[in-house]
């Protein structure tokens, strides 16, 4: 039979199309996620792997993703919306495999939308995993979420936030879950996952990733992921959608969590101490990092001590220059008040009417002169120098406030002290002795347990003397439990007055009644370490008078931001401001905090 020309052409076209499918397949086959062998995947995938090419400089080329987006013919948004709804339906019906498959399809359609990766990885690791009763299955799904997120990182190599999320998941989902003991153990033994991590560029075989048992630790892997994010930002990629302090602190905090976790697991020797030392180094490195602020300035969190010292020096100098001028200005202004205003500020706060309160707030703010106002009131020959000094002093205090504000975001002082305290030999000994005592107790060896407990208390007392803030540390919760068991063993309800941890018990009692005790301890600790230099033996025996630090300008003692009750702190601050008005004139920063005088009508000279 003769074929017509048209049929022959059509057959030729079909043949060409069929032949073209072969090179298309050869070119377009995606790289398998876990494969690091040369030659795996199509040609495009291999080129991408070799030359680190990225799709528009964003991330990995995935031919499957590109072809799927093309295939939607411009209706990618509709397709993605339908897939999202479908995924929700599968989740509701608990059809997990189809749910995962749908998430993979969503990722193919929206590979550069970071929220997709974060949201769905969270879905897998946090929401889906808990639906399973078997903890190994839960771990399996946590791992799937992690792999999903890592896939997102591959496709978005310039997204620091995704690195951060990955680090967060590794740390918190494995290390803070109710099943943290089991999950950490499963992760240690999950060699397949370690291979996957190695393929993602995480140096899983290095000492940086391995715990005391020589196996990878989830917290250390978390830290490595965070470090990759830091390298990216340091290399010039903008950090978007994440505040800098939580971003940069996560890595060192992962190291701290690792150190804490291994102690809980019974590693209470030189390895624990070394781990805390490395944590301390990490924390200090973080403290030295230059962090941009919302005031368009930069700060280093570790620079607070220097800034406070500088501000104090300037304040002393300014005080010497101005003499009792602030008091005079204050008196003059006070004399100009109307009777109504005078009555308002003289009335104790709790007895004021609403109108009197408003009057008092308005009036008090104007009574205390600012540095600049004081400088302007100086004699003409000294005025210029005074103005210059006033300006420098105001800026110095502003800087102190900025650093404090950023430190408060992650409780910087506390972690600094914790790292220092935990690497102390006394601390290691205290924990080890307590652990051994608990083991002896479990074996009903009461005499041995009592002996070990007694040794442990002495070590704890020494630590608390050096680092009082650790008395209210969450890690000392174990100490409370142990004390309780010690009491039961001795069959005593009360501790004797010479018990080594009497001060600890009193502090804990005070802390349980008033959580601000933590802030006061922290302030005291900071002052001792930063301003006066790290004291030896300083602690609860030498508290500052009236619970406030000696240096009036020690910002942490009067910093209202640290108080949990802004009204109370404002009142506290105003009392101190009123008490110290002449010698420590209000600065613009302090002006914001001043609200009311002590109600006695005149500031008390310091």
């Amino acid at each position: 039979m003769n074929l017509s020309g048209s049929t022959r052409r059509k057959l030729t076209y079909v043949l060409i199309i069929a032949l073209l499918l072969v090179p298309l397949y050869y070119l377009g086959q995606p790289l398998e996620a876990a494969s690091t062998e040369a030659g795996s995947g199509g040609r495009l995938a291999q080129l991408r792997a070799r030359y680190d090419l990225s799709e528009g400089d964003l991330g990995d080329i995935d031919p499957a993703s590109a072809s799927m987006r093309l295939a939607t013919l411009g209706m990618r948004g509709i397709a993605a919306t339908m897939l999202w709804q479908k995924s929700h339906a599968y989740k509701r019906r608990q059809e997990w495999e189809r749910f995962t498959a749908t998430l993979n399809q969503i990722a193919l359609l929206q590979p550069h939308y970071e929220n997709v990766w974060e949201h769905q990885a969270h879905n897998l690791s946090y929401n889906v995993s808990v639906e399973f009763d078997d903890y190994t299955q839960r771990y399996d799904w946590v791992r799937r979420g992690l792999e999903y997120l890592m896939k997102g990182v591959r496709q978005n190599r310039k997204a620091p936030r995704l690195y951060w999320q990955t680090g967060w998941f590794f740390g918190h989902k494995i290390g803070r879950a109710d099943e943290k003991v089991q999950f950490r153990d499963l992760f240690r033994k999950d060699d397949d996952f370690h291979t996957v991590l190695a393929g993602e560029g995480i140096n899983i075989d290095s000492a940086e990733a391995r715990g005391p048992d020589g196996r990878p630790d989830n917290w250390l892997v978390s830290r490595l992921w965070h470090n990759r994010g830091y390298d990216l930002v340091d290399g010039g990629v903008a950090l978007r959608g994440k505040a800098p302090v939580p971003f940069y602190s996560a890595g060192p905090l992962s190291h701290i969590s690792h150190s804490s976790a291994i102690e809980t697991e019974g590693v209470l020797d030189e390895r624990a101490k070394e781990s805390w030392m490395r944590s301390d180094r990490d924390w200090n490195t973080f403290g030295e990092r230059v962090v941009p602020t919302t005031w368009n300035t930069t700060v280093r969190l570790a620079s607070l001590g220097d800034r406070v010292r500088r501000a104090n020096e300037l304040k002393t100098k300014f005080g010497e220059m101005i003499g009792d001028l602030p008091q005079k200005i204050y008196d003059e202004r006070l004399a100009l008040l109307t009777a109504e205003e005078r009555q308002a500020i003289d009335t104790p706060e709790k007895d004021r009417t609403q109108e009197q309160t408003q009057i008092a707030q308005r009036v008090v703010a104007g009574l205390f002169p600012s540095y600049t106002e004081i400088a302007r009131a100086m004699p003409p020959d000294q005025r210029l120098a005074a103005l210059d000094l006033a300006d420098r002093l105001a800026r110095a205090e502003e800087e102190v406030m900025q650093v404090e504000a950023y430190r408060d975001q992650i409780n910087y002082t506390y972690w600094e002290i914790r790292c220092a305290g935990e690497q102390d030999d006394d601390m290691i000994d205290a924990r080890r002795l307590m652990y051994d005592a608990e083991q002896a107790l479990k074996q009903a060896n009461l005499d041995e347990a009592i002996k070990l407990f007694d040794q442990s208390w002495l070590k704890w007392a020494a630590i608390f003397k050096k680092y009082p803030i650790l008395m209210v540390d969450v890690a000392s919760e174990d100490l409370i439990d142990s004390l309780r068991r010690y009491q039961q063993v001795l069959d005593n309800d009360e501790f004797p007055d010479d018990f080594p941890l009497v001060e600890f018990i009193k502090t804990r009692t005070k802390y349980d009644a008033d959580p601000d005790e933590f802030l006061r301890l922290q302030a005291r600790q900071f002052e001792e370490r930063q301003i006066r230099g790290k004291p030896e033996g300083a602690g609860p025996d030498n508290p500052p008078s009236n619970g406030a630090p000696e240096s009036n300008s020690s910002p942490e003692s009067s910093e209202p931001a640290e108080s949990s009750d802004p009204v109370e702190s404002a009142a506290e601050t105003s009392e101190e401001a009123a008490a110290g008005a002449p010698a420590s004139p209000s600065s613009p920063a302090e002006e914001q905090r001043v609200s009311e005088p002590n109600g006695e009508g005149s500031p008390e000279p310091k």
């Binding site: 031919p63 339906a89 019906r93 608990q94 495999e97 189809r98 995962t100 078997d134 299955q137 089991q182």
Partner: protein
Amino acid sequence: MILQPEDFWSFSQWLLRPGAFLESALLQGIAVAIFLMILGLLFGYLVSAVRYGPVEGFYAVARVVREFVTKDLPQMRLRRIGAMARLAIKEALRRKVLVVVGVFIVALLLAGWYLDPTSNDPGRLYVSFVLTATNYLLILLALLVSTFSIPQDIKSRTIYTIVTKPVNALEIVLGRILGFAAVGTMLLVPMGVASYFFVSRGLQHSHEVEEVEDRAGELRGSTSVELGHSHTFQLDEDGQGLTELQRGHRHLVTRSSDNEFTVGPAVGLLRGRQPIYGSLEFLDRNGNPADQGLNVGYEDIGGGYGAGGLARLMGRVNRRDVYQHGYVEGGALTAAIYSFGGLDPNQFTDGLPLELSLRAFRTVKGDIVTGVRGTLSVRNPETRAESQPLTFIVKEYEVDQQFIPVKLRGTAGDVVKDLDLFTDLVTSDGRTEIVVRCIDSGQYLGMTQADLYIRAGDSSFAWNLFKAYLDLWLQMLIVISFGVMFSTFLSGPVALIATAVAVLLGMAAEWVFELSASMTPGSRRNLGGGPIESLIRLLRQDAMTTDFDLSTVPRVIIQGIDRVTVYMLDAVATALPNLPKMNTSEFVANGMNIFGALVGRHATAAVCYLLLAVMVGYFFLKTREVAG
């Protein structure tokens, strides 16, 4: 896979619905047929009356009916039907329908990029994909091919050539339908074969033996990781052994004489389990029978059966009958009782193999390492003799295999002794009960009727896949029937849209039923009202959960019109075929044998729709012939 009540009905239960005849398929079919007949005659009379006047119009309709009964039906010949079918096939082939197979093959080739063989249940993903892809392609093909044929003939006047052959309207319609169905079959066969090989080859894998150790004379080892999993195994003295069950399959491991270990291909990966289901009832916290198990607060998963047939249109049923998981509480008198019947001891000579897919719900974390525990016991419903509980740990989202041996300890008449399963615990007519309880206090076990069954055996995956494709073929047949029917009185594109609308409306029948039920007085569910009310709410941006804010008279009028509209829509939707309900791909995807009753029901429904479509198409074509 959660089976719903209608999935368990036998063919006769579905057809006749003993005790609920108003919901039966037979009554529904008769009602639809009668209704269509009356409607068709009325409509035909109206059209004829307009053309010829009332009296002549009546005679025209009567003539059509007479010719059908006396001439066209008795003179119908298979030879002429076959000729029309061949014509339809040639026409379809001329339109290059075989390219659909090419599209399908390309889809299979590229599917590997999108399917994850390392998932926990790759079989389900692969099977779902091939069946869904086939379904969509076939329905689309059926729509396009069936709706343009007759209008094209009418437009090109070739219809006159055909009818003068002579080929009567009945043969034309039937021939077209069968011809297009044959074309669909020609496509379905290679697609089915390709799917089978795609699934079986895509999932087939093997492992290497990674480590082996000798423990007190027993060789134990583990395999390499392939497709995201590995196995452990134990060899007997002959050097053979099965791996443990992982992801629903095992491998045979053999040791050769020169100490080489080989792992065979996966066994049990693709199968069609043949379950024997029982009925399920629950006991409450006091040990008394309860309507359903405890509700632990999970969201309604949807689905279910809104009752079909005339009962729905008569307002006798206004809620879905849906199975959700019922839970039994641990450490209490709550229990779930599965009642089985017709057990044959000759079929289960070694004991009863059970398979469970239970859920766990914890109210306290408890022992993280150990799963929630339950017990199974077998009980004689007459003598109340009961076996000692067999403890198990729940395995969620996978099939747990348990085995009840023939000889077991138990209690009979307050005496603890050795019991025989079929003598003491199964009645003479083969009835027994399996009681499921939860041991752990504060925890719960959840189940539906289909979550515990006796595994009677396995049918082959190929046969199961064939049945699923048969259901796809039946769906295609229905769509073709409707397409040809609409094309007898509508132009091609309009017939296409009409067929698509009919298919979609049938798919939405359950939703329409819910809407209709929500609009009945006293309903607590508010879906936003009918079409007019919804339009007003949309324009005013009112939420559908708020009251309809309108003064009384307009509100009553609008809601009244809406109620009538939705009721008529419900009536139409109920009459139309619900194609997703005919889809049995879930069975295959979950490794369950498709019940013969299901296939029978679908085939019956498809043939009935075919006959109805043929009748309607005949009358419309005849009317046009008479008019011509």
